[in-house]
C-alpha cells in the first residue's frame, strides 16, 4: 500500500532544546493512528513540527505527505497539500468572523489548486452542510473566530473546519481535552463521518476515552521524543490498565543500556 505520511528520523526542538529525538512513523490512507504518551513526551511538538509551527526548528530527518516534502513547505502550503491540525488550544481571533476566515481559507486552497474562488451562495451552502456534521450553531458562524466559544464549541469548530477543508491527513491534538461526554461524542462522530479510504487520521491523546469513539488501527507510545512502543488497539487498553510506568521503565532501561554501551 502507498504511504500518505512518512516521517524518518525526525529531530526537532525549540529554543535550542531538543524535544523530538528521532521519530519514525508511516501512515497509509484509510488508517487511524493514535499517539499516546506521558506529559512532556513531545506529542504536541510532533504535531506542531509537522504543521510547520515557526517556533520549532527541525534539525534533521524528513517528512513527506503524499510525496511532497513537508519540511520545505510553508504552513499554508502544507495545509493546501492536505494537512490539517486540530489545535489543542484553538486560537481566538477577535474581529475576524468565522465566515471571512473560512472563505479566505477555502479560496486560498482553491487558488493553490488552480481553481477559481467559490461563489457566495455555493460557499454558504457548503458551510451549512458542514456545520451539521458537528451540530455547530449557526450563530457561531457570524461571530469572531473562537471568541467567546465554550470549550466544547471550540473543539467542534475545529472539526467543522476540518470538514470544510477535507484534509488528506488530520492530526487531532488532544481534541478530547476539556470536553464533556456529549461534546466528545459529537466531535468523535464528526471525525468518523469524515473518514474515508483516501484519508488518514492521527489522534494524539492522553486517555483511552477518545479511542472508544475513534477506533485506532495502530497505537504508538511517545516517550522522551521517540516512539518507544507500537501496537494495535489493545495497547491503548493496556495503558489504561497499567499506566505509563512500565513503558517508562522499559524505555529508560533500554536508553541506559544504550548510553552505557556507547560510553
Amino acid at each position: 500500500m502507498n504511504e500518505l505520511l512518512k516521517v524518518e528520523n525526525l529531530r526537532a526542538g525549540i529554543d535550542g532544546k531538543e524535544i523530538l529525538r528521532g521519530i519514525n512513523l508511516t501512515v497509509r490512507p484509510g488508517e487511524v493512528h493514535a499517539i499516546m504518551g506521558p506529559n512532556g513526551s513531545g506529542k504536541s511538538t510532533l504535531s506542531g513540527v509537522l504543521a510547520g509551527d515557526p517556533r520549532y526548528t527541525v534539525t534533521s530527518g524528513t517528512a513527506t505527505l503524499g510525496g511532497a516534502d513537508l519540511l520545505a513547505l510553508s504552513p499554508e502550503d502544507r495545509s493546501h497539500e492536505g494537512l490539517f491540525l486540530s489545535f489543542q488550544y484553538p486560537v481566538e481571533i477577535p474581529g475576524v468572523t468565522m465566515v471571512n476566515f473560512m472563505r479566505a481559507a477555502v479560496n486560498a486552497k482553491r487558488k493553490y489548486l488552480g481553481e477559481p474562488p467559490m461563489g457566495a451562495s455555493e460557499f454558504l451552502k457548503m458551510m451549512r452542510q458542514k456545520r451539521a456534521i458537528v451540530e455547530l450553531d449557526n450563530k457561531l458562524a457570524s461571530r469572531s473566530v473562537n471568541e467567546g466559544f465554550s470549550g466544547g464549541e471550540k473543539k467542534r469548530n475545529e472539526i467543522f473546519q476540518m470538514a470544510v477543508l477535507e484534509p488528506r491527513l488530520a492530526i487531532l491534538d488532544e481534541t478530547d481535552s476539556g470536553l464533556d461526554i456529549d461534546a466528545l461524542r459529537i466531535v468523535a462522530s464528526g471525525v468518523n463521518a469524515l473518514r474515508s479510504a483516501d484519508n488518514a487520521t492521527i489522534v494524539i491523546t492522553h486517555y483511552q476515552r477518545l479511542l472508544d469513539y475513534i477506533k485506532p488501527d495502530f497505537v504508538h507510545i511517545l516517550y522522551k521524543g521517540r516512539i518507544v512502543y507500537s501496537g494495535g488497539p489493545e495497547l491503548a487498553l493496556e495503558l489504561e490498565e497499567k499506566g505509563y510506568d512500565w513503558i517508562k521503565e522499559t524505555a529508560d532501561n533500554a536508553d541506559g543500556a544504550n548510553t552505557g554501551a556507547n560510553a
Partner: protein
C-alpha cells in the same frame, strides 16, 4: 526656529498682494501673527524626541505660495476613485487653498445651514466670524501664527440654532500644482445651540513628485446641546506634508466627535485641542493610522475637562508597516472644579514590520478630586499564535497579516457613528491594507497607492 524666517520675509515682500485678496477681519489679525511668528523664529527649535515632526524641520523646505490666487484646474474625478457609492453628501472643494463650492451645494443646503468662503461670511455675517476666528488658535504655536499671517481665505460652516442636518457636509481639500506649494487652509465651524451636523473632511493630492505642505487650522464651536461630528480622511501621496491643528470648544450638554484616519501621505502631524467648557458635555476622539514605506503620522491631543460631569473617550490606533513611524501624545487635563469628570484614553499600536517605530506618551494632569480618569497605551506585534492558526488553515501569511490588522482597526472604524461614512472608511481601510500586502510583494507603497 530659523526655518520660519522665510515666511516672514515672504509676507513682508508681498504684504499688499496677500492682504488685497483677504477679508478685513483676516487682515486685522496679521500684526499679532507677525509678532508671534517673529518670536518663534528667534527661539531655538524645541528639543523633542520626535525629530521627524518638529515644526522647524517641517517648515524648512522652500515651498511656494499662491498669493496671486491663481485658479488651478483639478481632476475631481481622480480624487473620487475610491468613493464608495451610495454616499450622498453636500460637497464643497478646496483646491490648494481656494474654496470652490460644488455646483449644487447652495441649492441643496437646507435653511439654517451655511457653507461658504470665510471672506463671504465675514462680509455677510460678521457676527458668525468675528467672535470666533482665531479665538482658539490665537497664534499660540508656530503653525497657528503662520496660518494667521498668511491666510487669505478659508471655509465657514454655520449651523443655526436648533437646525439638525442629517446629510454630511463633505469638504474635499485637493493639492494640484506643477510646483512645490504651501497651502494655508482654514475651517471655522460654528454650531449654535441645539444644532447638529456632520462633516466629512477629505485630504488628497494629485500628481506625484511635487512637494506639498498643508498648514491647516480648524476651529469648532459646539453651542449648548449641539452635536457635531467631524470625520477626517487623509489619502495623499508620499510627497505631501500635512500640519494640522484642530481646536474645539464644547458647551453645556453638547457632544463632539472627532475621528481622523491617516491612510496615506508623507508626513502628517495633527494637533487636537479640545476643551469641554460646559457641564454635562461629551467628546469622543478617535483615529487610525495605517503607515507604510517611510510615512510618518502623529496625533497629539490635549483634552481639557473644564465643566462638571463631562465625559471624554479617546481611542487611537496605529498599524505601522515597513519603516513607518507613528507618534501619539495624549494629555487629559482636569481643571479645578471639574467634578464628576469621566475620562478615558486608549492608544494601541501594531508594529507589523521590524523597521516600524512608535512613540507613545499618554499623560494625565488632574487638579480635581472626584474624577474617574483612565489611560492606557500598548504597542506590540501581530499575535504569532493567531498567525500560525490562520496559516495552518491555508491563509497565506500576507493575507493573514492583513486580516488581523483590519480586525485590529475594527473598533476605531466602528467609532464612526454615521453608517455611510463608516462603510466607506471600512472599505478604504480594506483597500489600503490590500495595497500594502501587494506592495510588500513587488513594489513600493507609493506605486501601489497610485495604481489603485
Amino acid at each position: 526656529m530659523h526655518s520660519l524666517r522665510q515666511y516672514i520675509e515672504l509676507y513682508r515682500d508681498n504684504r499688499d498682494t496677500i492682504e488685497a485678496a483677504a477679508a478685513v477681519i483676516i487682515n486685522r489679525r496679521r500684526p499679532e501673527a507677525l509678532r508671534a511668528l517673529e518670536a518663534f523664529a528667534e527661539q531655538p527649535a524645541p528639543r523633542t524626541p520626535y525629530r521627524e515632526t518638529s515644526a522647524d524641520l517641517l517648515y524648512a523646505p522652500d515651498y511656494g505660495l499662491n498669493i496671486g490666487r491663481l485658479q488651478f484646474a483639478v481632476d475631481l474625478a481622480a480624487s473620487f476613485r475610491c468613493d464608495v457609492p451610495n454616499i450622498s453628501t453636500l460637497l464643497a472643494v478646496v483646491v490648494n487653498d481656494t474654496y470652490r463650492p460644488g455646483a449644487l451645494l447652495e441649492k441643496n443646503l437646507p435653511a439654517g445651514v451655511s457653507v461658504m468662503s470665510l471672506a463671504r461670511a465675514a462680509a455677510e455675517h460678521p457676527e458668525w466670524v468675528e467672535p470666533y476666528l482665531d479665538s482658539l488658535s490665537a497664534c499660540a504655536t508656530p503653525t497657528a501664527a503662520l496660518n494667521s499671517l498668511l491666510l487669505q481665505d478659508g471655509v465657514m460652516v454655520h449651523i443655526s440654532r436648533g437646525v439638525r442636518l442629517d446629510k454630511p457636509i463633505q469638504i474635499v481639500s485637493i493639492f494640484n500644482s506643477p510646483t512645490a506649494m504651501l497651502a494655508v487652509r482654514r475651517l471655522l465651524v460654528v454650531a449654535d445651540e441645539g444644532a447638529a451636523a456632520r462633516l466629512l473632511l477629505c485630504d488628497h493630492s494629485q500628481g506625484s513628485g511635487v512637494p506639498y505642505l498643508s498648514c491647516a487650522v480648524t476651529e469648532i464651536f459646539a453651542g449648548a446641546g449641539a452635536e457635531v461630528e467631524v470625520y477626517g480622511i487623509e489619502e495623499a501621496n508620499a510627497d505631501t506634508v500635512r500640519v494640522s491643528e484642530t481646536h474645539a470648544r464644547v458647551a453645556d450638554g453638547a457632544r463632539l466627535l472627532l475621528n481622523g484616519s491617516f491612510l496615506s501621505g508623507g508626513i502628517s502631524v495633527n494637533d487636537y485641542d479640545v476643551r469641554l467648557d460646559g457641564d454635562d458635555a461629551r467628546a469622543d476622539l478617535s483615529g487610525l493610522v495605517i503607515g507604510g514605506g517611510s510615512q510618518c503620522a502623529a496625533n497629539r491631543v490635549v483634552l481639557r475637562h473644564h465643566g462638571r460631569r463631562c465625559v471624554s473617550r479617546q481611542l487611537f490606533k496605529y498599524a505601522l508597516f515597513d519603516d513607518a513611524r507613528g507618534e501619539f501624545g495624549g494629555k487629559i487635563v482636569v481643571d479645578e472644579g471639574a467634578t464628576g469628570t469621566d475620562a478615558e484614553q486608549n492608544n494601541r499600536n501594531l508594529l507589523v514590520s521590524d523597521g516600524a517605530r512608535m512613540d507613545s506618551a499618554p499623560q494625565l494632569e488632574i487638579y480635581c478630586d472626584d474624577v474617574r480618569c483612565g489611560h492606557g497605551s500598548a504597542t506590540g506585534e501581530l499575535d504569532a499564535n493567531a498567525l500560525f492558526y490562520m496559516r495552518q488553515r491555508g491563509i497565506p501569511l500576507d493575507e493573514a497579516r492583513m486580516m488581523l490588522t483590519q480586525a485590529f482597526m475594527s473598533d476605531v472604524v466602528d467609532a464612526v457613528g454615521y453608517e455611510p461614512v463608516r462603510d466607506r472608511l471600512r472599505h478604504l481601510v480594506e483597500k489600503r491594507l490590500g495595497g500594502e500586502a501587494a506592495s510588500c510583494a513587488n513594489c513600493s507603497a507609493e506605486d501601489s497607492l497610485c495604481n489603485r
